[in-house]
């Protein structure tokens, strides 16, 4: 029999719940397929990620998974080294902007953000008698230095640019509730009653702070139609309480499981999705997934997973949501 395969995963940084989902899914899948899985913390630092890639290569990994990164350009030399060593690469969450990434598995951040933004605008319409009035909307960013944040803003802008009467005021929530709370309080003060809605890039780790700030100002969270992408256990809670309008569910768990599956399949010579295919799995939230050429990397397949809107398209209690799988 062949030697046991080893897959190395580096996560962006393990504090966020969806990263926990990456790790759990990868572990479970690796166990199921009988391969070793190594997990390391990239500490949100491209140099650190490249250091780990070097170490992994010294250890002799057979495949590599990048579980998100803050800076997608800076780690490209690391990906290239993997390519040179003929080690297949998969990426989750965000794709490196260079090198060959065999499989990039994620929903499209820009598209999903646009989807959430459309929901957001719908909410404004609904609350204002079917029209979009002139006014201010808040966009709570994660971290200006993070490429993830840039992609979210791009998607959001693509929809909001159709409504020039809406003025966008940005605030940085630094991916945490304390800062999102403070910045929303300040912005509510600044614009008084003129705020039509609050868009939160990733409500999973900034939503509760935003809601608390709204409530602290004596207002009702439901009046701001909070939407965004990535829900998280706390987001599910907010949706159930009616304090959040809705969010695009991130297929974190499935993406990581698929990454391990495809890499192992490729190594074992089993068929893997090719550019142009559409992957369909009955009952999976992420299905159907188109497979297109990765627009950021030098080459590779981008398996575009579906991100359904919760609660509009999928119930918040759906057992297929990773939020519910993790907290079970």
């Amino acid at each position: 029999s062949e030697k046991k395969l080893t897959v190395g995963l580096v996560v962006k940084e393990p504090t966020a719940p969806y990263i926990q989902a990456f790790m759990k899914a990868a572990e479970e899948k690796a166990g199921e397929l009988g391969v070793n899985l190594l997990i390391r913390d990239g500490e949100g630092d491209s140099i650190k990620i490249m250091d780990i890639i070097d170490t992994y290569m010294a250890q002799g990994i057979d495949a590599f998974i990048l579980g998100g990164a803050v800076d997608l350009r800076a780690l490209v030399p690391g990906i290239r080294r993997l390519n040179e060593a003929k080690i297949p690469v998969a990426a989750l969450d965000t794709s490196p902007e260079g090198g060959i990434v065999d499989f990039f598995l994620s929903f499209d951040l820009v598209q999903s953000s646009a989807k959430a933004a459309e929901l957001f605008v719908e909410g404004i319409k609904k609350r204002n008698g079917g029209t979009v009035p002139a006014g201010v909307v808040l966009e709570i960013l994660g971290d200006k230095a993070d490429m993830f944040s840039h992609a979210c803003t791009e998607g959001f802008d693509s929809v909001l640019s159709k409504y020039p009467q809406l003025e966008i005021a940005q605030g940085e929530g630094k991916w945490n509730n304390t800062d999102s709370h403070a910045v929303v309080s300040d912005l509510l003060t600044r614009f008084g009653n003129g705020v039509l809605g609050i868009y939160v890039q990733t409500p999973d780790i900034m939503g509760p702070g935003v809601v608390a700030a709204i409530e602290a100002a004596g207002l009702n969270a439901a009046d701001f139609g909070i939407s965004g992408i990535c829900i998280g256990p706390e987001g599910i809670d907010l949706i159930k309480k009616g304090k959040m309008l809705g969010a695009v569910a991130q297929p974190a768990y499935d993406a990581a499981a698929l990454a391990v599956q495809y890499l192992v399949d490729k190594l074992r010579g089993n068929p893997v999705p090719q550019i142009g295919d559409t992957v369909v799995v009955e009952g999976a939230l992420w299905s159907p997934a188109k497979v297109i050429r990765n627009p950021w990397a030098d080459d590779g397949a981008f398996v575009v997973l579906q991100g359904p809107l919760v609660p509009q398209e999928v119930s918040p209690d759906d057992p297929r949501l990773w939020e519910n799988m993790l907290t079970k």
Partner: protein, 353 residues
């Protein structure tokens, strides 16, 4: 000393509050929503967490040490306390009151450990608290991969509740003021406070004078641990959950607040009200920049610049102070001359008397 001089000196010694008032006035005049009741309450509310950390750091600095683990304790103490009371031993420690006591005790124990290593084992405070901070952050990640929520209202009270009787302001504000008041008394009006300051001012001299300096240092770290734990309860209460990122990266800003408030890096100096001023000034900076609508990409640079200006102003206080005293002395000499004292003033003269 003339009355006006005394007044001016007092103003100078409270320069942080002068800066606060000056900055406030400028903002009030130029930013529409700034000087409203809601916004002022917001500033204070947002400052509460940082102000606890500033006090913790400032208090340790007063004894001539420093503590880099305060933000990790902020996350660790409430995190582990809530875990214990909700998950590990819900039967035994299930009451939210126990959780509060646990939180404070964990803070105190961590401080005790730091203090013991520094005072007794002679570890370098920087390295000691840095390594403890890394360890605690690691453990928090291990124990709390996912946030724990919601919290018991009793536990989240001081972070979240509003007091209807007091114009609906958050409970955190009076709690903070009360703690600062306690520390003001502690530092200025108790024997412990003076001995503590003396230890920071000159540990050797205090030791010779019979002060148990090791105990002072250990107590200092314990107090910092407790204050950080309170900051953690404020944070957890505000977001109604404990999460592993709480407090991330606040330590350095807490230093800034304490130093702006007149604490000295070399120990032996510090006032509770000064630190409160420092914390509020930092909070006001970021509030004003948010209200002004500074571009997100420039907000950090602007904040840094404001801090730089503040320390520049603070720096001039020292020169201003001595020049004022000097002028006063000259004036006194002149007065003596008028009264026909034996010294003559003015250009140096050959003969005298």
């Amino acid at each position: 000393m003339s009355g006006s001089l005394k007044l001016r000196l007092a103003l100078l010694d409270n320069i942080i509050w002068m800066m606060l008032i000056a900055f406030f006035s400028v903002c009030a005049l130029s930013i529409p929503a700034f000087a409203t009741w809601t916004n002022l309450v917001n500033i204070l509310y947002h400052t509460t967490i940082m102000s606890m950390l500033v006090l913790a750091q400032g208090f340790v600095l007063m004894s001539g040490n420093l503590d880099l683990s305060i933000d990790a304790v902020l996350a660790f103490a409430p995190g582990v306390a809530v875990l214990m009371s909700v998950k590990w031993f819900p039967g035994l420690l299930g009451s939210p009151w126990t959780a509060i006591v646990l939180t404070l005790s964990i803070g105190a124990l961590l401080g005790l450990f730091n203090g013991f290593c520094v005072a007794r084992l002679g570890m370098n405070a920087f390295m000691q608290t840095l390594s403890v901070s890394i360890i605690l952050r690691g453990l928090v990640l291990f124990f709390i991969p996912l946030s724990i929520f919601p919290l018991d209202p009793v536990y989240s009270f001081i972070g979240k509740a509003r007091i209807a009787q007091l114009g609906n302001i958050p409970a955190a504000i009076p709690v903070t003021f009360f703690i600062f008041f306690i520390f003001h008394v502690l530092i200025n009006y108790t024997v412990f406070g003076r001995n503590y300051l003396a230890t920071g001012g000159n540990a050797r001299a205090s030791f010779v004078a019979g002060i148990n300096t090791n105990r002072m240092i250990i107590l200092g770290f314990m107090v910092a641990g407790i204050l950080s734990a309170i900051a953690g309860m404020l944070t957890a209460g505000r977001q109604d959950s404990v999460s592993n990122t709480m407090g991330n990266g606040m330590t350095l800003l807490a230093f800034a607040g304490a130093l702006l408030g007149g604490t000295s890096m070399s120990g032996g100096k510090g006032s509770a009200f000064g630190m409160l001023g420092g914390a509020i000034l930092l909070g006001m900076f970021s509030n004003a920049l948010n209200l002004l609508g500074v571009k997100v990409t420039l907000i950090h640079a602007a904040q840094g610049t404001l801090i730089f200006l503040a320390i520049l102003v603070d720096r001039f206080r020292v020169s201003l102070r001595s020049s004022m005293l000097r002028k006063e002395q000259i004036r006194t000499l002149h007065r003596e001359e008028d009264r026909g004292a034996e010294y003559t003033v003015g250009k140096p003269r050959e003969e005298s008397v």
